[in-house]
Symmetry: D2
């Protein structure tokens, strides 16, 4: 079975440097190249998103699939599932990526009953385990798709029907077991239907209570089966639902704190989800990071002039630089990684486009890593920032930080010292310097 | 002094009913009319925003003032301040509104020094106190403007310079004292410059720590002077700064919880701020309400096709109905009210437009109140919602809510019970019914 | 065959008035009720969108279909096509709607070859013709789907490959013949793929030249076969493509003028497309109308906080009032109508929801018609506007309009007359009056 | 008088190359460096926007000015006007920019009457003329501010009051004379108030007729006085008004064609205005360019997450590259240039920030020019595009372009040739290559 080759014309992708004209070579990603004491590979922990890369078809809400992959040709859905897994590992290894991620329904279609579905899953998980062992590729995270099946039309854990809540619970139970079996380093919750279409028929408080209860059950079961992966929640403000409860980093953190769940979860920040919420990518990364909750990244790119999740491959060096700057700033993502939750444009119909797009994305982050490292090394921003806040290091500022003064003391200070001096924020100067590091 | 009349042609505004052609009469707002056991006046607790209504000039970023008010004609800024206060109370009483709100810099321009500024404030506060007593009009809330003066260009409590932090503290001290003196029922914080322009020069964590410290000092000082008003934070996502820390309800609640401040604050939700954050007005009201933190409302309207705070007078009955539905649902706003943080369009240059706009807004909320009350009385939505979640009232649902089941139990339940049944959310039906209540 | 009943529990929808609690009755739409000299039915010319109403499945980009219609159950695609047509006419007549609209691929799936496809079409067109005759229901417009099939991934008339252009031409030829056969009163072009994903690979000028050539061929062929229907272009700014050439009314009119096609086309304005372009619905209606090009309307509603085409059923009375105000202002839509290009929410899974949603939409436009008629009758807005521009009816204004003055004359006028007087725009007053007409 | 120095610490800005750490030096802009047969200086034709650079104060809608320039300190407004002009030319020459742009009200405040205003203007124009001669700096374009004065609250040429129309005409007459006197190479119209706030009080058709009449008068007067500058219209969709008639390139072109004015006008495209209209900068440049109407550029940058005109200095190399790619593609801007319609951030309060920001912007465009030239030279995109459309160069495609085929021919072609072949659009590959040119 493993003799099949799904990408016969394509060899292992090599680093050829910035001048290479070969679209199937890396220009900046050189896995073993050392940056700040670690290899690029260790820093970047790239991961492939099974749903887009292996299961994507080019379809969109206005159009049918534009490509048919060679692993998708059987009449037998289980054979397709196996072929897809084989193709996936061929892709991972040819591309040279160490991690992948999946939903339950990506790797295996549902059967008539939960029992049947889980049997199918067992078979395909066993194949994945073998392939992981053969190749060294690891599972960054897995998750359960609780949004595609019509049973989840009104939500999963937040469904008004407890029966659906139960179904979702059974699915997550199985996926936690799968994560354990495959050594997943994380487990992700993205609540695509955990939200509402209209407040006219919604009890928001009760739905949120249920969501918290659901997450707690997952935490408990993980502990019970000794699954050690990091739990992650992936914020998204809307789409498919009108409003999703996990709107953005701040909202998720608020929710977790309310229900006392904050120590069990970190966040999986997606660039395109941040921008749909009205934030820059780096904003939501920073919010997660300063709360000690930046766990992993869905590395893609949106189009700020389009109001939906375009899931484009990351290619903007400004963005990859800022992302890596924050990640380096917190000493890496721990068990997390950079997962390419990105899909080919509908018109990119060549099989090789799958490689080309990932290569570009990996190069963009490799570049971002190198530039961000230079910025850190040269203390370009950190010196400016340190100096800018230095009034809090001594005098009245230090007392403020120490909680040693009250409003009366502040009034006395002003009566004595009068107006503060004006200080420029030097934004334009810093933007100019960024361009020097980017292109220089 | 009190003999001056600033609106000589306008008499006390009366209720004339929906068929009236008099633009200077109420069509639906009938202050004494009883709705659900209380008068409209008690329900709605309307308030005038001093900054827009008394200080607005029709200016915008591309144009100079388009009107000159009769209370604004002296060469002496303190005389202007007094005349404005007199005109304000004439306006409040002619319109028949019980509350008003102000910033320190609305009622009195700054002097050369803080001492001078505070002396000026004392004088004008004393006038306000007298006028309150004379008329029975009360202060819904006051606040300090910590965004207009150039000293706050980089923030107030979140300024990188501790000297500015101190200045802001001194201002808030004075305004808490003013609130005490004038019997303010609330005190509001809107952090128009508490945010950042670029992450390149910003230490977000340190700024947020400072903001929390600042709020704590305010809480402590209020306790010290025995100011009993409710503290409120007003979320806004952006404008004037690129990103503001009090982005929306969820973000503010998250922040308050992080720093243990949640029991001292409620929220002042503004319609236009909610929509700038990507939410409906009712969404942000609902989020605040289910967290027990809906304290007051800035009643205006934005334009969803424009990306800035247009602060239009509320006139959309759908929105006022949903707002009043949520407010009735939590048994009113307590010490809060409906403050018209709204301004005339630049081209509405007649003095009477000021009355006409407020009349329309008050009518829109009176209508919203009446419709919302009918919806509550007839249990139009609550019956649908109660029934929709009834699976959690018994059986597996009740056990889920009680925390009595785990993922294994849920799996067992599904293995036994199979697929859930499909249930329609009936959104279109509910939308049709709303139209019947609105127009019917 | 015609004995099948697809909506067995539902009888012909009746008018029961605003107090009716029957979700399956009209509250305001009373077909024979006269408004301004014509029946509501004649004014409103409601039409059903075959693609959403008959072919919709509840699927969205993140989820599988949530309902299976009784006309969709055969294994034979042609049987499904026939059953769907039968069900459609049952729906039209039970609902009491006089028109419908379709794409070629809605009424009949493609065959292996164009010949086979067209044979299939002939069969189903013949059934439609019989049903039209039996019921009196007419075809408002038809069109060709040139966006779903993967061959159109890079456009139809604007495809870089002339072969695809030719395919599109063959499709349109067939649909013009179908329009002729079925007596279509209009023919619509919506260019869902006529645009670009990236300028990096696009020759915009050449694509637009091709589009113009394509439209000219359609005009010529219509003349040749004596098809008399009005040609309509439906603007949409984006989705599915990054940028669509028919961005909005102004853009389409510009394009038509450039290529000398303006006399052959009018516009089909969709509410949700207007708002995606950053305009209000009434703005794009008005732009089309003042250019004499408002031909028909796709009556739906978007969600201004969501960035995609939500295609909700119209229910906002403010919007339906303004739309009908503009339509009445130009004495109706001629051969056009109000086509409900709207779909049920994914969670509205009851078959009766299809009726309920259309009933609400028809009621919303019936109400809009009645209110708009009152506004016209009472000259509420027209008198204000007439008066506001009256300075152009005499004196310098009349000379300006007549082209009788130049800049020198204007300078002389100002030197003599000085500053203009300030005049209020009375926006808030007008908004208040609209509420009186809406609810009063 | 000319002995004053307003930027005493700053010397002429020099090119020091990409490694320079001097914030007051160019890193990429080397005026004499040759690119594609012309010097950078000749290509880029940089211009300073008098209103932002000289008159900007750091004020925003929520805050007072944050800086006081040394040329702004007199109590005499005319002395300020003179000092500002002197400072401006010192700035132009120290920065090394060849052009500037102004509004009438930037260079001189209005007097009590038009006569007085025009006298003031004459004096300051005469100073400008002398300084132009002394320095060689030229006037790229001038324009009239018809939006700030309250008389324009409801529009200038589109004002409902003919008196205001006349005032606007008198202003433009004077500015055309000023343009003639100063050798302006262009004259710009930006209609900041030419639009509407609400359709409830607006006769859109009549307003547009008036606007066309106004522009025609300007054209006629320019011919009469032999002013040879190119007329330009600057599109903007909104802000300050709800809707502006010159929404975007396509809308303006449509308007000009309708009124037969297209041969007298070109477009001045501003980056931030394009994005407010929902387009990329390059989109609106391309639309203007393929219609032969790209005349000049307002070179700035918006923030796509903010809904207002942020007018930031351009610094994104992706954008400057695409802009220069289009400009090189049409062989330059003719009499147009790159005008920095950009303002310092409110917090950039150092006088030197004015230099730093412009230096960064000039460097960003110099880089964009160099990269765009490489792309053209290597035919990176043009070869892809040429090949992509090559099916129109022969066979059926050539016949289509020649207008030699009709729909019947296309059907015959498809019946014979069947389905087209699938071709990838290679978007990701092209994006990867752009990164290589950018950073490589």
């Amino acid at each position: 079975m493993v003799k099949k080759e799904f990408f016969p014309g394509i060899k292992k992708i090599r680093f050829e440097g910035p001048k290479s004209k070969n679209p199937l070579a890396f220009k900046w990603y050189n896995p073993k190249e050392e940056v700040a004491g670690k290899s690029m590979r260790e820093h970047l922990r790239f991961s492939i998103a099974y749903w887009h890369t292996m299961k994507g078809s080019g379809a969109d809400p206005f159009g049918a699939p534009t490509w048919m992959r060679p692993w998708n040709k059987s009449n037998n859905p289980l054979r397709i599932a196996e072929d897809t897994m084989l193709a996936a590992f061929e892709f991972f290894t040819k591309l040279g990526v160490d991690y992948y991620c999946f939903h339950d329904r990506d790797i295996c279609p549902e059967g008539e009953t939960l029992i049947e579905t889980n049997k199918r899953l067992d078979k395909i998980i066993s194949l994945a385990k073998k392939l992981q062992k053969d190749t060294g590729v690891k599972l960054l995270w897995n998750t359960s798709n609780m949004f595609s099946n019509p049973r989840f039309a009104h939500g999963a854990a937040t469904n008004p029907d407890a029966h659906v809540f139960a179904y979702a619970g059974a699915q997550v139970k199985k996926m936690l077991e799968a994560g354990l079996e495959l050594g997943a380093e994380n487990y992700v919750f993205w609540g695509g239907r955990e939200g509402y279409e209209t407040l006219l028929n919604t009890d928001m408080k009760r739905e949120l209570d249920h969501l918290a209860m659901f997450l707690r059950m997952a935490v408990d079961y993980a502990r019970e089966i000794k699954f050690k992966g990091q739990f992650l929640i992936e914020p998204k403000p809307k789409e498919p639902t009108k409003h999703q409860y996990d709107f953005d980093s701040a909202t998720v953190i608020s929710f977790l704190r309310k229900y006392g769940l904050e120590k069990y979860f970190k966040l999986n920040i997606e660039a395109n989800h941040a921008t749909l919420a009205g934030h820059t990518f780096e904003h939501d990364l920073a919010v997660a990071s300063i709360n000690g909750m930046l766990g992993s990244v869905d590395a893609n790119r949106g189009d700020l002039l389009l109001g939906w999740d375009t899931d484009q491959f990351p290619s903007d060096i400004y963005q990859t630089t800022m992302a890596m700057y924050i990640i380096l700033g917190q000493k890496g993502l721990g068990t997390g990684g950079l997962n390419f939750d990105a899909k080919l444009r509908r018109g990119s119909t060549d099989l090789e486009d799958l490689f080309i797009a990932h290569i570009g994305a990996m190069d963009a982050f490799a570049l971002g890593l190198k530039i961000a490292n230079e910025l850190h090394k040269d203390k370009v921003l950190s010196d400016v920032i340190k100096n800018r806040y230095s009034s809090y290091d001594t005098g009245i500022g230090a007392k403020i930080e120490a909680g040693m003064v009250d409003l009366k003391d502040l009034e006395v200070f002003i009566l004595k010292n009068g107006e503060p001096k004006q200080v420029s924020g030097k934004q334009e100067m810093l933007e100019n310097i960024i361009n020097q590091y980017l292109v220089g």
